[in-house]
Subunit: 221 residues, 2 copies
């Protein structure tokens, strides 16, 4: 069965996936970019963005493996861009330039309809305004037997966790304190149940935790 997977999702030691005071200028909130420095430093992430060099080792291995078997991506609208409300025009085409590093279909959750955008390199952004289950169904269809990657942000992860739809989560604990912002584990009622830790390993920079939902705890549908 194809899976819905979260990878490289960074949280601070105090549990925040973004810092306080998110804005168009500071989309990850104050201090939020520090959550992602470990990933940006890796060879795999740099190659993903067409850059040479970078660190190898544990962190790089996680980043490199994250794309294996992935055929489509789902992301929240805030991960796609800073614009809120209705789409004023078609100018905003994501943070990633003309050739985004996905190279497959990307489903952007939004409440506001917008026509799909085909980018260079095989990435097409689809805008899904009829809910997370519809997005997942379309993403599994596009992945054609492959797994689906669930990007951020925290509220997107929370929606899929509440619906019991996430099969695997690779979380990355960054040993910094942000003091405020958007928590990953929030708005989850009694929390996600049925996940077990399959792997815990740390680099000098971060700790990686891989959680997998046990089959017995699948939500009945």
């Amino acid at each position: 069965m194809p899976k819905l997977r979260v990878h490289n999702f960074s949280i601070s030691l105090d549990g925040y996936a973004a810092g306080p005071d998110q804005s168009r200028e500071d989309p990850l909130g104050v201090g939020g970019t520090r959550l992602h420095e470990w990933a940006f430093a890796t060879e795999a992430a740099r190659a993903h963005h067409g850059l040479d060099g970078g660190a190898t080792g544990i962190d790089d291995g996680f980043v490199a493996r994250s794309n294996e078997g992935i055929g489509a991506t789902i992301m929240g609208r805030n991960m796609f861009g800073p614009i809120r409300g209705a789409w004023a025009d078609d100018e905003w085409r994501g943070w990633w330039g003309d050739d985004p590093p996905y190279h497959h279909d990307v489903f952007v959750l939004t409440h506001h309809p917008r026509a799909a955008i085909t980018m260079q390199g095989g990435t097409t952004f689809h805008f899904v305004d009829d809910g997370i289950e519809a997005a997942l169904e379309r993403a599994f269809g596009a992945a054609d037997g492959g797994d689906v990657m669930l990007g951020g942000g925290a509220s997107t992860i929370q929606q899929y966790l509440r619906a019991g739809l996430i099969d695997e989560m690779h979380l990355v604990i960054v040993p910094i304190l942000l003091g405020g912002g958007e928590r990953l584990f929030d708005h989850l009622d009694d929390g996600p149940v049925g996940y077990e830790c399959l792997e815990l390993v740390s680099s000098p920079s971060v700790a990686h935790v891989r959680l997998v939902r046990m089959p017995s705890s699948a939500v009945a549908t």
Copy 2:
């Protein structure tokens, strides 16, 4: 300068230092004992409680080092016992039997006066009802040049964090989800500032993070 140090303080992946529904029967809340299994399994913790055997390795090293240089301990009343409100009688003498594993002066924060109790093995429980600063002053005095260990629970740590009085924190991230309970990083306004991670290392069971407050961020008094 003697320091106020936190050691072996376990939190779940979702940030809880105790599970939901704490009660006299379940003082750590539902699932909360799972936060401490890693420590109980170590040789150092077992020896501390007069037991043979136990695991050696990374976790054991942290537990063994935690007592080095410690001359006194401060703990919240809920760590001392399950009784709330005024002390009905002198019967409750802690969770640890006649010879508690401290062997030094222990200062219990409470709003209700009670005479000190001298136990076997050098442990004396003092009940401090005039605030966290008074407790710290008495503990430093008792430690006589040594450091002071700050035990739990979470609300006790939070009080000392808000006052800017904690010099070192060794936190232990246990890769489980409790789904609710008492968060460590809560009620802290904009969070503790000025801490840097000096060490991050994981065993197969847990990740250890050692935070130290940088001198420049000491709270002016």
